[in-house]
Subunit: 336 residues, 2 copies
């Protein structure tokens, strides 16, 4: 393989696909040609990149032999259909779709488990974890040596953009109809999501958990390298456009020194610890930001073995596109 | 005291005050005269009751000797200022305000701890618990014999109406301004609440918890008669007008039989168990309903000692006004 790696972004016209192109330019992602590919109505659209317009081409017609690294964004169906072709052409793959298949790929957050890439057979095929798992892993990483973690309980408030642009448009449409006192016909989430909270991010599977809840728990165990840690995840859907908010309880074997926790969070990379009394929020702090914000660091009620946290993070950037580009940078530097 | 007890509702023009009047009429609350009292701009307003209009009178001019039972609704300041006068006049008191003082009064949910009223010295002075504590207590009551509870972890998504009409108006105003692309000036919650989630329902106190979080934990311990049970509560503020949603994790000493849990919930009074795959929501199920809705009954991931639940409930009715009226009915029947 030559020095310059050529790259394709499949699902380029999705929200995360567009963010990948944008972040690749922002960070001066050291690549040769960039191919943007997608399907359906997206073919023929153009995406701005380095002062030019890249034309979105048909993924079905794309020759994966032209590139050394492929990002899959957008719908999981795209990954299902074209992962084989990409691997057959010898491409490294970074999956940023969300769905069942992703869970089967080993996941990487460079700050946490970059070393994992070294031990993998080539071509490397990895996923970027669920945005919520990435956010929590980034916060827990600096605490692992400090806390004797026994159990993690998380309620993740997931935004409508977890369903892509359809979700975003649905919340905007529902809100406008309600404010204008027009009758509401839910189209995407099965019921009213405006001014409401849904008890699950999607229809749960037979075991009662949603796909995202299982991905989140499994990926967090991988990222923390704690396969036996009990992790309970509830993903609820909030009437929020972008950004995930996590209410987290950590149960530890011993009493927790909150000052030490705050100090470790303050010094950790990729994190912003809110001042006491401040509560970071997705709109006020997380959106458009590459760092994960954490606040409300406190004990449980009458219970010093428990630490509670509030975490907010941009689900498109660090949660997905940025993490994938960072992983791509590592791959290109060391493993391609 | 005569057979018919005369009643006053202080803070009658508040959302909960109005709901008290409405529910008293609906249930044929067996009382004599009903006095509606309040302060400020509310004086002179009228409230419909049994085909008449009750005029709201000035609480500062009210002679509490005229009545045997007083409900306090609305702002907690009202309770602070007039509780003494009501007690001095020998009135029984039911507090449905929310705030610090309420936490000092013993709390009652008739289905759970009605017997508590029997042992209290007269005149009885009790509070209706925080709506979220009531909802969770009603769900846990039928499970106490079944589960060896070790720990409860709750994230309660509190609606803007937890701050009364000001909160409701603020969410409506912010949403309209954002949809019309006008600049946003937050007035009530300190920041944007529309399409956002705030990490706390109010400014936390020095120990990191909000007043509501502490009330919730303390009141739940009282209602379940489990003073030593560790309970971690996080109250977050959601862009929802009415109704509270609770994401609950119960950790038990032994493996939990989910079928037995579902059966117990199905048979319990005041509860509605959602069918598997259905997720009750505040807008779709809870608002205007007197029952508490529960769904998403499931184990933790790979962890049969944990049960997770999703609970939604109307914060004005069973959460506050209905529970207070039910308590009042009990008082009138047995303890006045």
């Amino acid at each position: 393989m030559s020095q310059l790696v050529h790259v394709a972004i499949a699902g380029a016209a999705s929200a995360i696909g567009e963010a990948l192109v944008e972040i690749a330019e922002e960070r001066g992602f050291p690549i040769g040609d960039l191919h943007v590919i997608d399907e359906g109505d997206s073919i023929g659209q153009s995406l701005p990149y380095k002062g030019r317009n890249l034309r979105v081409r048909d993924v079905a017609q794309f020759d994966f032999n032209q590139v050394g690294l492929v990002f899959f964004a957008g719908e999981v169906a795209l990954l299902d259909r074209y992962l084989g072709a990409a691997r057959q052409a010898g491409c490294a793959v970074i999956d940023v779709t969300s769905g069942k298949n992703s869970a089967a790929l080993p996941c990487v957050v460079p700050e946490l488990n970059a070393q994992r890439l070294a031990s993998m057979s080539k071509p490397v095929c990895v996923s970027s974890p669920a945005p919520e798992a990435t956010a929590l892993a980034v916060v827990l990483a600096p605490l692992l040596d400090l806390l004797s973690l026994e159990r993690i309980t998380v309620t993740a408030c997931v935004p409508v953009s977890s369903r892509g642009r359809r979700g975003v448009n649905e919340l905007a449409r529902q809100t406008a109809e309600l404010l204008n006192a027009r009758p509401l016909e839910p189209r995407v989430f099965g019921q009213q999501v405006a001014f409401n909270l849904l008890g699950a991010d999607d229809t749960p599977e037979a075991d009662g958990h949603t796909i995202l809840e299982k991905r989140f728990a499994n990926e967090l165990k991988q990222l923390l390298d704690k396969p036996l840690l009990p992790i309970a995840v509830s993903c609820i859907l909030a009437p929020v456009f972008f950004g995930s908010s996590l209410s987290v309880s950590l149960l530890c074997a011993d009493e927790v020194d909150l000052d030490a926790v705050s100090q470790a969070l303050e010094q950790a990379p990729g994190l912003e610890l809110a001042a006491i009394g401040e509560q970071p929020s997705v709109v006020g702090d997380a959106i458009g930001q590459d760092v994960v914000h954490v606040g409300r660091v406190r004990h449980g009620h009458d219970d010093r073995r428990q630490v509670n946290l509030w975490i907010v993070s941009d689900n498109v950037r660090k949660g997905a596109a940025l993490n994938a580009v960072q992983t791509g940078e590592l791959l290109i530097k060391h493993y391609l």
